[in-house]
């Protein structure tokens, strides 16, 4: 499982990088299952997809990698502090915090006796009850899962529009005019004057610092 957690946050999911990582991992863990894990993770549903540009001359590859946009910025910096801060912000847009992983099983395996449930439970009638390979399952998941907003945004290619055309990206309000901000202690909520050395979260007093160290120092960091 160490492999899974580290792989989940691969930086720069360039194709070449991915291959390199796979070969390296294959070398470290001769167990064959590991490299398949990696490819599945690339297909697995996260928040955003990135089209991988293999080389300049070639067409843009439509193979999509899915990484949340803030996570990309976070992972691009190897700084723990920015990672933690951005991961927290990304968590604000979640729908289901803890129940996500259970959903997939329910949708697929739930025997629907109800007629009008075949909108989601589109059962693929396999010949015989052959256990689906991981790749087939990943492909099916990718096909069934609705495309996320960031995929659509990226595909719409809004940067290429001329500047006088208003678009989603131009409507964003942009950074605040003054960079001075208030800091609040993440443990108790009052004004926090001190920063944790390891992960960069704020706290206000020694007591709050102890609580922070015991519970969630480095928790948001990959």
């Amino acid at each position: 499982m160490l492999c899974r957690t580290t792989c989940r946050f691969l930086v720069n999911l360039d194709h070449d990088w991915l291959e390199l990582a796979v070969t390296q991992l294959d070398a470290c863990f001769p167990d064959k299952g590991r490299s398949h894990d990696l490819r599945d993770l690339a297909h697995e549903r996260e928040s955003v997809s990135f089209t991988v540009a293999m080389e300049e001359e070639r067409r843009m590859s439509t193979r999509t990698r899915k990484v949340a946009p803030k996570m990309v910025a976070a992972l691009a910096s190897s700084d723990n502090r920015t990672q933690a801060a951005l991961a927290r912000l990304e968590a604000l847009e979640n729908d289901n915090a803890g129940i996500e992983h259970v959903e997939n099983h329910d949708d697929d395996d739930d025997a629907s006796l109800d007629d009008d449930d075949d909108v989601y439970i589109q059962k693929k009638q396999l010949k015989g009850t052959k256990r689906k390979t991981r790749q087939a399952k990943a492909l099916e998941d990718a096909r069934k899962a609705p495309r996320s907003f960031f995929e659509l945004l990226h595909e719409a290619n809004l940067e290429s529009l001329p500047p006088h055309v208003p678009s989603y990206l131009r409507a964003a309000v942009g950074p605040p005019s003054s960079t001075s901000r208030r800091h609040f202690c993440t443990v108790c909520g009052f004004t926090g004057g001190y920063t944790c050395v390891k992960c960069g979260m704020r706290f206000c007093s020694i007591r709050c610092q102890h609580i922070h160290d015991d519970t969630r120092c480095m928790k948001f960091v990959a």
């Binding site: 912000l89 659509l152 208003p166 950074p175 605040p176 443990v187």
Partner: protein
């Protein structure tokens, strides 16, 4: 004359009804949820008293835009057949869409309306112009209708827009957006409560309720933080919320509603001795049970305390930088939106700011906004903020008004036109 179905497709709530009515027939959450008691996702019903603890939620709208048309189709089918009792094939549809919807999403929406439901015709409006229409018609002699111009601040579920409207058209290039809305506020409150008291990360609907009942906007954060630190009776903000336990009560409730109102006794001069004196009387009247219940949180009853979270959560909209988000607050958003318009419009826009959207229902929202906005606006302009009488239904009512206007039929796109010209050409009619 065929009837018009007015449908305000929001990220949080769907408001649907017939054109010409005063209020929508149905206001339900725009999602499918699966409570603990059942294994399948079910449609929310308007009058539900079931236990919504740990209900998993599937939303077709993510970040304000419709990305899951299958799910939306299912919700609409249920809505049209069981709740509204309309037949789509003999009705027109007036649909609201957020600003800057991507063409792909517009196409899927059109497909959904015309091909899956077979509506006769469609009109797509955006929320600021509908709000402007409604407000202008409510006060025919006011500035909004005379100048045909206003600034609509819509704090919704998924994001917050500040959009100027001129001559009933939204000024696209001047609208500004903050990516914070009711959903982010609820998630933030969930995170705070889960860390400090009980793990409520799954309880979306319950924490929504907590947010609506207990949160307010503070006018002076540092002073309120100071008060919230105090112990015992001096702490005017401490409030306990009891979670449902499924046996005695299925919905959560605030433990002491009067205590929740105490936060409003703090006035601007910060004269805190006065409130605490009146409280002493309250405590004596209630007898001996008050002090014990406030001292100790009863762990068996699943309740938690909120002190500074009550005003720090809505504070997010005014200062997203508190969370680390690199976005400006609401006051600056308004200023930037106005500055992107023609200079002649500035004075009118500042005088006719309309607040709409569910997240403006926090107490003292308008006061705080005016307080923050006034220093940023040049002296010669007046700043006047109006709140709608019902911010959640405001957009729907505007749509209903539009639907009952005589030339509405001519503005729609009929199914025949859609099939002949395709989605993109038809959309150009709507100018956004």
């Amino acid at each position: 004359m065929s009837n018009v179905v007015v449908l305000d497709n929001g990220g949080g709530l769907i408001k649907a009804g017939h054109g010409g009515d005063r209020d929508p027939l149905v206001t339900i959450p725009n999602c499918l949820y699966r409570p603990l008691s059942s294994k399948k996702f079910q449609h929310p019903s308007p009058s539900t008293s079931e236990d919504l603890t740990s209900a998993a939620v599937r939303r077709p709208i993510d970040r304000g835009y419709l990305i899951n048309p299958d799910l939306q189709r299912d919700i609409w089918a249920h809505l049209f057949s069981s709740l509204l009792h309309v037949t789509p094939s003999s009705s027109c549809l007036l649909l609201t869409e957020p600003l800057f919807t991507l063409p792909y999403i517009q196409r899927t929406t059109d497909e959904l309306v015309f091909e899956d439901f077979n509506f006769k015709s469609l009109f797509v409006a955006d929320s600021p112009s509908l709000v402007h229409l409604y407000e202008a018609s409510r006060r025919p002699e006011g500035l909004v209708s005379k100048a045909q111009c206003s600034l609509v601040v819509d704090c919704g579920f998924s994001f917050t827009h500040a959009a100027p409207v001129f001559q009933n058209f939204t000024v696209n290039y001047a609208a500004k957006r903050i990516d914070l809305g009711g959903k982010a506020l609820t998630n933030y409150l969930k995170e705070l409560v889960s860390y400090r008291a009980i793990n409520v990360m799954d309880e979306t609907f319950i924490i929504d309720d907590v947010k609506e009942k207990l949160c307010f906007v503070s006018l002076d954060v540092s002073r309120d933080l100071h008060i919230a630190r105090k112990r015992g009776k001096d702490n005017l903000f401490r409030c306990t919320y009891v979670l449902p336990d499924g046996i005695t009560h299925t919905k959560g409730f605030v433990k002491d509603p009067d205590a929740a109102q105490r936060c409003f006794t703090v006035d601007d001069e910060g004269s805190t001795p006065q409130p605490s004196e009146t409280e002493k009387d309250v405590v004596q009247i209630d007898g001996t049970e008050e002090p014990t219940s406030r001292k100790r949180i009863d762990m068996t009853k699943n309740e938690f305390d909120l002190t500074n979270e009550r005003f720090l959560v809505p504070e997010m909209i005014f200062q997203p930088a508190d969370l680390g988000m690199n976005e400006a607050g609401l006051a600056e958003c308004i200023v930037r939106a106005v500055n992107s318009c023609h200079p002649y419009l500035h004075s009118v826009l500042y005088e006719s700011i309309i607040l709409t959207g569910g997240s403006t229902l926090f107490p003292r929202f308008a006061e705080r906004l005016e307080m923050e906005l006034r220093p940023l606006v040049p002296d010669d302009y007046q700043v006047k903020i109006t709140t709608q009488e019902d911010p959640i239904l405001g957009v729907w009512r505007g749509g209903s008004l539009l639907a009952s206007s005589p030339d509405f039929e001519a503005m729609c796109v009929t199914k025949a036109e859609y099939e002949e010209l395709g989605s993109a050409r038809c959309r150009r009619r709507f100018f956004h």
